[in-house]
């Protein structure tokens, strides 16, 4: 699901076409919306060729997802904040603080892990509420508030940990970060070349595909019932088949290795949930309204301050979640955890098509942006480019290029008016 380049048939995201009852909509290729997915496909293609297919091997796919999972969790929260016209520079420090907090509870105090997890998420919510208060109700720019937060929560981390790492974590936390779904039904043979794969995962994958297809079909049927413009049949089929193929490919590959990682399940739930919220929930609409035109939103009765406040609370919770995953993955809560995570999350959102001025952006876009960076990271690693400056150079250029493309396409759209 995460890798699917198309969301599940969300109403109203497609570009405008001529009237519905006249003809199926002209395929008005929206380069800005689809450019990110094309870029993603090209990135994968290039590195698949360069690594002679190793990139897409079962074990490597699993690695990419597990290694990037916490950045993707952060990117979901970050893109919402960016849509609303703000920024959060503190997430890296919050990741560290939340990891430290969880470690003290689970390792030093021996609290049961579910209690510790919930307490950690609440801890994140409180941090988010602190920052949300200053941004929304006190009126300090988010850049400043979260820059201060970056220092404050790093200090909190050192204070909690006393300048040393705490570990190891309970098995459950490590499983969340590193573990895989157990096979409930055993393996099935997929022939000589593919070998065995976990049957349960394959069935779940098929169910997910069926669900996606059904959701797309239902949305299309509803649009036709309301005589709205719909994609021509071939494009509709493409939008059903391509994600289905990608999901099945991913699931089968993972099922051939050590099965689907738990973090992928978590991510899939988050992506579907947050996509629904941004596209269909009143709260989601209000985020776009606030970022698109703050004054107009205020005068339309949107409780602007409350929207911004809750966005930061949400970011705090997601940062805490990312903190748990990261600490569980390292099996250690260290004082330097999460360094520069904020930059990766922000870059993911912008590569994924979020606009610097706010009002524009998508959760799926941010995830794709994060995955592009993950593939570059991983692919370059496979090719032997292990020096950090090489990866940084490429990531920097990709970020600049993505935003340059955004600015260019806007200027072109304005000129064509």
């Amino acid at each position: 699901m995460t890798a699917a380049p198309s969301s599940t048939g969300v109403v109203g995201k497609a570009p405008a076409g001529p009237k519905a009852d006249t003809a199926p909509r002209k395929v008005n290729f929206d380069l800005k919306q689809s450019g990110i997915y094309i870029a993603f496909a090209i990135t994968i293609l290039v590195f698949t060729v360069l690594t002679e297919g190793v990139l897409l091997s079962p074990q490597n796919l699993s690695n990419i997802i597990v290694q990037q999972s916490y950045i993707l969790v952060l990117a979901i929260g970050m893109v919402l904040i960016i849509i609303a016209g703000h920024i959060d520079l503190s997430v890296g420090s919050v990741v560290a603080a939340a990891g430290a907090f969880a470690a003290v509870m689970m390792v030093n105090w021996d609290l049961p892990w579910p209690v510790a997890v919930i307490a950690t998420l609440v801890f994140g919510a409180i941090i988010g509420a602190w920052q949300g208060y200053w941004v929304a109700y006190f009126g300090i720019p988010a850049f400043i508030v979260t820059l201060a937060g970056m220092l404050l929560f790093r200090a909190v981390t050192y204070w909690i940990l006393g300048n040393q790492g705490i570990g190891p974590f309970p098995d459950e936390i490590r499983t969340l970060a590193n573990g895989f779904i157990p096979g409930f039904l055993g393996n099935i043979g997929l022939g000589e070349t593919l070998g065995g794969a976990d049957l349960f995962s394959v069935i779940v994958g098929l169910l997910v595909v069926a669900g996606m297809t059904f959701a797309q079909y239902r949305s299309r049927a509803a649009r036709i019932r309301y005589s709205q413009a719909v994609d021509p049949t071939w494009l509709f089929l493409a939008k059903v088949i391509v994600p289905a193929v990608i999901v099945m490919f991913l699931v089968v590959q993972l099922a051939r290795f050590r099965n689907v990682p738990w973090v992928l399940v978590l991510l899939a739930v988050l992506v579907v949930g947050y996509t629904l919220v941004t596209d269909k929930a009143v709260f989601g609409r209000q985020i776009y309204a606030v970022g698109g035109n703050l004054q107009a939103a205020t005068l339309s009765g949107v409780k602007v301050k409350s929207v911004v406040f809750w966005l930061f609370v949400n970011m705090g919770v997601l940062s805490a979640l990312a903190g748990l995953i990261f600490a569980g993955r390292l099996n250690l809560a260290g004082p330097t955890a999460g360094n520069s995570f904020e930059l990766d999350a922000i870059a993911a959102a912008f590569i994924g098509g979020a606009a610097v001025q706010g009002g524009v952006g998508r959760v799926v876009g941010a995830i794709t942006g994060g995955l592009i960076m993950a593939v570059i990271n991983n692919g370059m690693g496979l090719m032997g480019a292990t020096k950090p400056q090489q990866v940084m150079l490429v990531k920097g250029l990709v970020l600049l290029g993505a935003v340059a493309f955004d600015v260019w396409s806007k200027r072109r759209a304005a000129g064509a008016k």
Binding site: V282, R285, L299, G301
Partner: protein, 511 residues
């Protein structure tokens, strides 16, 4: 007679998919005030952008001749160098800089790279005297009202030794007093030999100030005539291509019970909390009635409306509100909307619309809860509702999924009105509902306003154009320096009587 200073011949300008100008000709005589009229989208601004080099030579076809020489401007600096200065509708001043800094922005009075502030400010003061602006040159521009900022723009143009001054809708945002001052200034400049080209929607001004008028329609020149031979009706028929006998639709009101009563309403300035902008105002609105609120700029019209609409403007607000006889509170915009009050702003681009979103999401913005169940929006229902508005309001767009920022002013205004109608209000406050809208679309807006009144809503129209208030309102309140100075039924109101009331309090208060 006088010689020709500017000749534009066969100008054709094409944008992808649209021919904005088609073989346009324009002759301007030295020392005249020449008005260009046309509906929105007729190509007026495009023509001026061609002239001033915003669209450089080579991006259009045709010839420009200025003072007998062919011109090929590659940018706005070229045209300014020749003495052609354009003042855009949206003023281009840096509001945090002083008047003097703005006047000489890009043209700094400097010796060897160091600015000579004495020279700068003295020169600026001289220019301010010339345009009749009694402000110090070191005053920051943000402390000035729109009218004064317009004068700063003109002073800036004069500093460049302008020969041909182009003004795009110079009085659109000005009140009558400031407009009159500006027009007087332009007459003065004409006497000094400066030629002016004015783009304007205000036909009385066009008639009052210009020597000749050129009409553009659909990117083509229709005609150029001496103003002496013209009437407003003739200009309108040229602009719309048809005779407009009635600029205001006929309407017989059915007036019902009182819906909203505002009592003893007082609002203070957010920047100077001891200064009252609205003082002890009393207003009554009734079902089916269109009520006008007339006042000069700064009289407190918008301040009154916005403070009633969820205290979205002003501080230390006092007074009482009664909805159908029961006292209500509107402490937030949400509460105001829930009490059936809607306010369509005078500045739709800044305060009314999310320009990067599509039509349907703008229409639903204030009434999402009506389209949602348990916090989830029904996207199909939203589409349906928006599409019904597209049909009933005649919003010209290929689909309700078109981006609002690309619509014309009139269609944007229809989106704003749709948005508020969807909240199902009992009281609609429309602040300058036809500002920046062409004549044809204005008529449509008036028809919509009448329809709303017929549905039993109370409508309060705030407008700077007295003919408009006289044309559509059943009753008109006048506001002067924050006080209600009169309440006149339409039958008894004239422009003169309203203007007297609108300036009344000021004269009494003045020592």
């Amino acid at each position: 007679m006088s010689d020709t200073i500017l000749r534009m011949q066969g100008i054709t300008k094409t944008f992808p998919g649209v021919k904005a100008l088609q073989d346009v000709n324009l002759d301007v005589r030295r020392g005249e005030i020449h008005s260009i009229c046309g509906e929105n989208g007729a190509g007026k601004s495009t023509l001026m952008k061609v002239l001033s080099g915003v669209y450089p030579h080579g991006t259009y076809e045709g010839e420009i001749e200025f003072e007998g020489e062919a011109c090929r401007f590659s940018g706005i600096r070229d045209s300014e160098h020749r003495g052609i200065v354009i003042i855009h509708q949206e003023l281009a001043l840096a509001s945090n800089l002083s008047i003097a800094e703005n006047i000489f922005l890009g043209n700094e009075q400097a010796t060897r790279g160091w600015i000579d502030w004495n020279k700068t400010n003295a020169a600026a003061d001289a220019l301010l005297r010339r345009v009749g602006l009694r402000e110090s040159a070191v005053t920051p521009v943000l402390d000035l009202g729109v009218g004064k900022q317009q004068l700063v723009e003109i002073a800036k143009a004069l500093s460049k030794e302008v020969k041909l001054l182009i003004l795009d809708e110079p009085t659109a945002a000005l009140n009558d007093e400031d407009s009159a001052h500006l027009l007087d200034l332009l007459r003065g400049l004409r006497d000094e030999g400066i030629t002016c080209v004015i783009i304007s929607h205000k036909l009385n001004e066009v008639m009052g100030i210009s020597d000749r008028v050129t009409i553009l329609r659909d990117g083509k020149t229709i005609w150029t005539q001496d103003t002496a031979d013209l009437t407003e009706e003739k200009i309108i028929s040229g602009m719309v291509g048809r005779d407009m006998e009635h600029r205001y639709p006929e309407h017989t009101p059915t007036i019902g019970d009182e819906v909203l009563r505002i009592e003893d309403w007082t609002v203070h300035s957010p920047t100077q909390p001891d200064r009252a902008l609205v003082r002890n105002a009393n207003l009554t609105l009734r079902r089916g009635e269109i009520v006008g609120l007339a006042g000069l700029m700064g009289a407190g019209r918008t301040e009154l409306a916005m403070s009633v609409f969820g205290r979205s403007y002003g501080v230390n607000i006092s007074g009482r509100l009664f909805k159908e006889g029961r006292e209500i509170r509107t402490r937030t915009v949400r509460e105001a909307i829930d009490h059936g009050i809607a306010y369509a702003t005078e500045d739709r681009k800044r305060y009314g619309l999310n320009l990067i979103e599509d039509i349907k999401r703008n229409i639903s913005a204030a009434a999402l809860d009506r389209l949602a169940k348990g916090g989830w929006v029904d996207g199909n229902e939203e589409f349906k509702v928006a599409d019904e508005f597209r049909a009933s309001m005649n919003i010209k767009a290929p689909s309700v999924e078109s981006v609002v920022g690309k619509l014309s002013g009139g269609n944007q205004q229809k989106v704003v009105l749709s948005k508020w109608i969807l909240t199902d209000p009992d009281v609609l406050i429309l602040d300058e509902p036809t500002r920046g809208i062409d004549v044809g679309a204005k008529y449509e807006i008036y028809t919509i306003i009448n329809r709303l009144a017929d549905e039993g809503k109370a409508v309060l129209v705030i407008s700077s154009e007295l003919p408009e208030l006289l044309g559509i309102c059943d009753r008109i309140y006048t506001l002067s320096a924050g006080r209600i100075t009169g309440e006149v039924p339409r039958a008894e109101a004239t422009q003169e009587s309203l203007m007297t009331l609108m300036t009344k309090e000021v004269q009494e208060v003045a020592p």
